[in-house]
């Protein structure tokens, strides 16, 4: 197991790399960390996740902005793709994803900043994310979830007229006998926890960080 000082130094170095959006340096650090004896999971859970949590919190407080989050996400995604995933596959022959989330903005709504943020945060926290974009019909969510063998369907809405599609999707899942196959999480500015409960969703994500916590819980991990 790596000692605490070593982890702290790594986190500090990576924090600067995330802020700069330096994908090359990030990949180099990840390689060095694995070469020095850390497993990909130790590196991800011990180093990357605390950093991401911190980045998410700073963004939540708007101490940093969306471009900073995007830069950090790009570094992590590159690191995952080029270093961690191949290493995990070589070790176990399995992918590194915690689970698959099919995500999109509900039909009739073209707002996507919040949804993109959640997708990014899920991705950099180890989920495989299938982003269906905006104006997605309930049936398209279901078709994509079946095709991608998803664990979770995530629906976002900023406009109240598009919110009914969330309940519609859940009813469709029930009608098709698929309700038990997928967990459903909903979010967006006008969506509340009470609304999520009323339509029978499995979870409500108040913001990107909270959505990640809830998705982790939905697949049986700690939030």
């Amino acid at each position: 197991m790596p000692d605490e000082k070593r982890e702290e130094a790594l986190r500090k170095e990576l924090d600067q790399v995330l802020a700069a959006g330096d994908t090359e340096k990030g990949t180099q650090i990840a390689r060095q960390a694995l070469e020095s004896g850390l497993t990909p999971t130790e590196f991800f859970v011990g180093i990357i996740q605390p950093l991401l949590y911190d980045v998410g919190k700073r963004f939540e407080r708007l101490e940093i902005f969306l471009p900073d989050l995007m830069k950090a996400a790009k570094v992590i995604q590159t690191m995952q793709r080029e270093v961690l995933e191949p290493a995990i596959l070589a070790e176990s022959g399995e992918g590194s994803e915690l689970g698959t989330v099919v995500i999109g903005t509900c039909q009739g709504d073209i707002h996507d900043i919040g949804k993109n943020m959640v997708a990014l945060m899920l991705q950099v926290n180890g989920f495989r994310v299938i982003d269906l974009g905006t104006d997605v019909s309930p049936q398209n969510f279901i078709d994509a979830a079946r095709k991608e063998e998803a664990d979770i369907i995530g629906m976002s809405s900023l406009l109240t007229p598009s919110m009914p599609y969330m309940g519609d999707l859940i009813k469709r899942l029930e009608g098709l006998g698929l309700r038990e196959q997928y967990k459903v999480i909903v979010g967006g500015a006008p969506v509340t926890e009470a609304y999520a409960e009323r339509i029978g969703a499995d979870a409500y994500g108040a913001d990107a960080v909270h959505a990640v916590q809830m998705c982790r819980q939905l697949i049986g991990l700690e939030g």
Partner: protein, 465 residues
Amino acid sequence: MQTNWLVEIVKRSENGPFMKEPDFEMALAKRTAELVREYGLKFDPQVPIPSDDDMADRLYQAGLDLFVEMGVYNQTTERCIKFTRDETEEIVGTALNAVVLGTGKDAVVMRHRGVESDIPCVVHSGPTGTPCTERYHPLILLSCAQEPLVDCLGAGSVSTYMGQAIIPGSPTEILGARRDAAVAREAVRKAGRPGMHINDVAVPLTCAGKMAAIDQDSGLRTSDAVLVSQMVELKTDYDQLSRVAHLKSVGMHIVDLMTPLIGGLGGGAEGTAVVTIACHILGVVLYSASYHMMSHTHLRWVNNTDRMGLWMQSMVAQALSRNTPIVLLNDIYTVSGPGTAELLWEVAAGAVTGTVSGMNQQGAGTTGGFNADHTTGLEARFIAEVAHASLGLTREEANGYALEFLKHYEDTFDNPNRGYPFPELYDEETVEPKEQWLEIYHEVRDAIIALGLDLDGGWRKVRHG
């Protein structure tokens, strides 16, 4: 000079550079950050209303650079619609600098105002961004339309039709749009101001829904307006452009609606200001807008009365006032709700900032749009009073007022006072504000007068010279 731009816009939409949307966003964020550095733009939280002409001009150039370099992303074709600098400057140069809104005795002329201008603001009102219920929507609109200092009415948004949620693209969207337009028309009639300009019906999400609101007898008329939206940031699609085609054809006012997010793709206040300049240019070049509604909001609090929001409002307005002829409209968004002193302080900060920087007034989008029916005509009256009293102020003086006003609400952002819904603040029979709301209004009004802003004399001077 090209004159039939819509055909050309479609041509460029089909043949412009192909780009995936996330790549466009990443490129926009990166270039915006570079432009902030190149042009030396700097947000100072102690100066929400800067008096820096040179920075205003640099900001305009940065926004123009961004528009020309990035183009506008068409989500339908996934291509960038590009314009040369010469084309852009030519189109902006020939934009309208004044528009007649409404008809007959109720018509007003909304103008390009300029920085520290003595041209009075036109005041728009209505439940901007605050959802209403079917039950109270007619009363809320009437409470705004009957305010003597209010010049125009926005019909706002009701999310149900006869108790059923409105589904976009379905008959309920068409019916809801037509109902809301008729309710707005009835409100201005009831207020004795049948020619008052109505600036949109917000509920429809599709082109068909928007167009359904147009009805010369009982809905929106050609003297009214329909909003054409931009998607954040610098994006459009064929649905929006199709609205432009129809509205231009029938001679109706087009309002360019932009909703830049502070903390979003533009980054902080400076970058979002650069993006917002480019958004205004989009509204001129692609939408041929009569006027431009700037609805920027803080990503976390969904307001624009914080220091970054006020700074952005001021700098963008100053930059556009000094470098273009276009007609500007702010859109005050608050965290607080009606029936609270905080709301009045928030709208006062927005009104003084917008007025001195060159904007006309729209408001208020209360509670960040979270609480239904949390909107009344009284806050619109207050916006008008503060705006008219602010005529003739220097930016430095206005900055002093804004800093004073901020003290009364900025520590509530994390735990806002959302106030009360309409029926708790207005008598449902007389449609007049109840005593509790009037008391708060008078308290804040007196406090602002004590600070030196002439809320009694300002509007009288505007009305009577």
